[in-house]
Each structure stands twice: as structure tokens, then as C-alpha cells.
Symmetry: C2
Subunit: 327 residues, 2 copies
Amino acid sequence: MRIKVGRVGLLLLLTTTGLYARADDPLPSWREDTSKRSIVNFVTRVTEQDGPDYVKPAQRIAVFDNDGTLWSEKPVYFQLQFAIDRVKQLASQHPEWKAEQPFQAALADDLDGLADTGEQGLLQLVMATHAEMTTDEFATTVKEWIRTARHPRFRRPYTELVYQPMLELLAYLRANGFKTYIVSGGGIEFMRVFAEEVYGVPPEQVIGSSITTKLELRNGTPVLTRLPVLDFMDDKEGKPVAINKFIGRRPIAAFGNSDGDLQMLQWTAAGEGARFCLLVRHTDAQREWAYDRNSHVGRLDKALDEATEEGWTVVDMMRDWEAIYPP
Amino acid sequence: MRIKVGRVGLLLLLTTTGLYARADDPLPSWREDTSKRSIVNFVTRVTEQDGPDYVKPAQRIAVFDNDGTLWSEKPVYFQLQFAIDRVKQLASQHPEWKAEQPFQAALADDLDGLADTGEQGLLQLVMATHAEMTTDEFATTVKEWIRTARHPRFRRPYTELVYQPMLELLAYLRANGFKTYIVSGGGIEFMRVFAEEVYGVPPEQVIGSSITTKLELRNGTPVLTRLPVLDFMDDKEGKPVAINKFIGRRPIAAFGNSDGDLQMLQWTAAGEGARFCLLVRHTDAQREWAYDRNSHVGRLDKALDEATEEGWTVVDMMRDWEAIYPP
């Protein structure tokens, strides 16, 4: 049987094939490039049942940093913006804040002044805005902020400033039997409010920094109260500690963007068998931000050197990503 | 069409039906009784898609205590026996232990003397046997103990002294879309060594007490070292705290056996929608042990009163369980 294909028919055929190819691509926002190729190669290797690098599904643990890896972190960490907005909300109950740091700086949107108060100042800001309420009350507060707050540059809800290519990557890994975890310096109970809806990552797969909670009875009902006491800082050396505590297995893939993720990537890479480490490098001032070695937030310096030495994948946002945010 | 069925044929039919019925029963070691009925009723209610009590699979979290709920805890907690055996192994390197409590009591198998050293003594015993090594080294030590140690009464490996009806219950819940967690006062890294093989519970679903770990470099390779410092005690009020931290959702079903589980059951029961709380009561001195209100290990007193008040399910081991341990 011979099939006659005219010019229009041929064009249609080609177009359709093109469409199918694109629909089949699990990572459409990743340009055909070395980063994308290295991801797909790794996933193919560990899922090929007869291959030398096969990894059983139960062992396919992938860990992702959040700030700067899954969503943006400029001009300040989004959770810090939440704290600043909350200080403004609570200011009428705290007239003394007008003359006290770090609150004065927060009320004036003075980010440099806030940075000058150092780690101690930031901790004080967090405790004044994240504690002295039940876990349920805190979740409600975060939900309300996410619903109403808008990013100063993009005028979109913060949860829309997540990286489309990373959303595709999370889904691609899960479709290949991976369990995807968030391991972030951000607050564990802050992220859990939106991680499932935004990233498809359920609460039990979100790991982060925490403050101490305490079981109490309120009118005979047990509640968990958040105390203004730091429980755990999930950054740098803390990330492998938290991974071991919460997951109890070593990940085979790790994704980060800053020196705060270095130990997590090293811990992942030090395991036996196929491993994958990736750094997101912020190179796109126009569509997002461009910063690395000299940035105060999300500094990428030592980890970048180590990536070069170890042959880790480094994503160049400008070059590798077709889109930054979801449409 | 008429089918003739003779006497033998009828007998065969009935027998076959009987066999099928048994093969279909997901809880064959549970006698047809109120406990079994209450379990099956609950699972049916929360999984019936059009029913008023339907719970989405993601929310089907079930938490299980370990000691006395999933495996035996007499004559002493099995992990304490591990510590005693380890003291004996290490004794030649510590001649001073012969004259020092709690080590002296441990070396002499003097359980009463050990109990007399109190919580402080037990903690000292744990630190001397569970710390000052890497997490990998600790796991190897536990694995070796499980392989070689035998229970003094039953002469079986400790991991065979798990309750057959509870193994069936874990599998039954998972088959109905539940995520099954262990939430135990026992050591998280101790239980993770065998929980997956014995209970089908993966490491990331095991929650327990912990000591502090620290990331260090050994010959350029990152390792986690176990420090002799208590990190978290996962008992009583600690259980809801740990559930909130590790899972981030409230369970809909909780299973325990002692007053140490009371807060976990209360926390579970206090949520909205269908809830299920169950206590295993040790009533079978012949096949296992009989103890409750006056036992030092696994005391069941306040929780038993509350179970009666709240209508929680109380398993009577002697009456409700056809088998105690796997054959």
C-alpha cells in the first residue's frame, strides 16, 4: 500500500511528530544541554533493571534544598519577608518595637539595617513572629500570608516564584520511583504549609529548621505550643545530621544552590554506587537574579569549586532553562 | 443447565469455600472477636469512598509503639539487653567497670541492681554502649547482636519475638493505603536496623529516641559520629512532639500498650473525623507475659482507665490472639 503525502500532509505529519516528541519530554523547560543530559543519564542508569548501576526504588532518595533551589530567595529569603510582614501586623501590640532592633529595621523595610543585627537579630525576629502559639495557629498564619502577600518585584504570590524546571524535575524523579525530600534551612512547619500543593512533596518528606514544641492541654484538648527556643538549625553540617535522623538512608541524588548545601552534597556523593549532585547557579539577572561568590544570601563559592573538582552538574539558569517560573 | 452435586462434591465445595474464606482473611491470627471486628470496621469506614468517614490515602497515618506493642519487652526491654551484652563485650577494655555501677550490675546480669541505678544509671549504660562510634559502625554492631543473641526464655532471636497478629495488622493497614509508622521510646537507629525486614516499615517511617550525631571528616570522608549526649526522648509527651516533627500530620490510628503511649493515643483521638486507638494488654502468662498496672516495664494503668472511658479497643492477648509469635 502506498500512501500519498502532499505538502500540507507532510507538514502536518512533521508538526504532529514534533508535538508528540515534546509531549513525551518529561523536562520540557530544560533546554537540550549538558545539565538535562546528565540528569536523564543518571535516572536511566539507576532505573535500568539489568544495568550495573541499578538502584532499588526504596533506595531512590533525592534531597532538595528549597531557598534558591526550588524557589527564589531575593531580595530576601521569603520566610524572612513573612517575619517582617508579621512584625508589621503585630506592631500595634508592641509599641516598644519602634525603638528596638531588629524590629525597628523590619518596620522600616530596612533590609541592610536588619542584616546588621546579625544572626542574633534574625533569630530574635523569628522568635517574636513564629512562637508563642500552637502549631495549628502558626499554620493558619502562614496560609493567610501566602494567600495575600505579593513579591515586590514580580507582583505574584511567593508560591508562584518556584522554578518550573525544578517542578518538572521533581515530578520526573517521582515518576521514576524516587522519593523526593526537601532538606532546607527554612522552617519545617513554614514549608509544610505549601510544599504538598506547590511541589507535590508531602509534609513527612519536608525537613527543615525547627523551634521546640511542647504538648499542653487547653480546655482538656492536647495542643502543641511553639516555644521561642531554637530546636535545630538545618544548614551546612546540620543537613547530613537531619537526613540521617529523618530519613535514615543516604540519598543517591542531591540538589542545592549554595555553600549551605555543600555538606549535603558531599554526604550524598560519599555513598557507594551511582550518585548525582547538582547545583543551581543563578546567572539570569533579567529573568531572575545573578549572584554567586559574593552574595550575602545564597552564597555559592566553596561548593562551586568542589562541583568543578568533583564533576557535579552545575545548572546555568540563563543558558539551561527555557522558562524560570510557571506561566 | 442443571449441575448434579454428590455428597463428596458438596463436601469438597464446602471445604473449598472454607479455605477461600480463610485465605481471604487478612487477620488470620486474630480470633473473631470484638477487637478484630473494631479494627475491620474502622478500616472499612475510612476507605469507603462514598461513606461519611472516608479519609484520603495521604491522610491515612497509623502510628505504632514498638516495645510491648509490636514485640515483647520482658524480662527487660530488648535494647537494654543489647546494652548489657555489649557491656560484657567491652568489659576487658574497662577493668574499672567491675567496681562501678551500673556496669557491675550489667556484668552480673543483676537486673534488679540495674533498675536500682535509676534513669541516670540506664542513661550511662546506653551512652557507654551506643556512642563514640559512627552511625555505620553502630548499625553493624546491632546487626551482629540480632544475628547472634537469643532470648533467655524462648531461645529464639529477638526479632522472632514479634507479635504475629500485629504483623498481620501492619500489612492489612498498608494494603488499605495506610502509611505505618513506628513511634517508640526505643532508639531510632537501633530499630531501623531491623524494622524494614521484620515489620515492613522502612527507616524513614521509624521514629524513636535519639542521641546527638555530629558530622566529621575521617580521612577526607564525611562520617556521622554518635556523641554520648541525649538528643530526644521519644516517650509520653515526647511522642506527639515527635509525630508533629517527623510526620507533620496527625495520625488517624494509634496503637500502644502502656502509659508511655497515652499522650500519643490522646493526640490521635483529638483530631477531627474517624479515629482509632488500640491498646495491647498483656494477659497471657503462658504464651507471653501477664502484667499491667503494677509492672515496672510497660506499666498500663492510666491509659487503661482512659481506654475504658473513651471506648478505645483493648486487646486481650490470651483471648483475642490465636497465635502470639510467628511459627
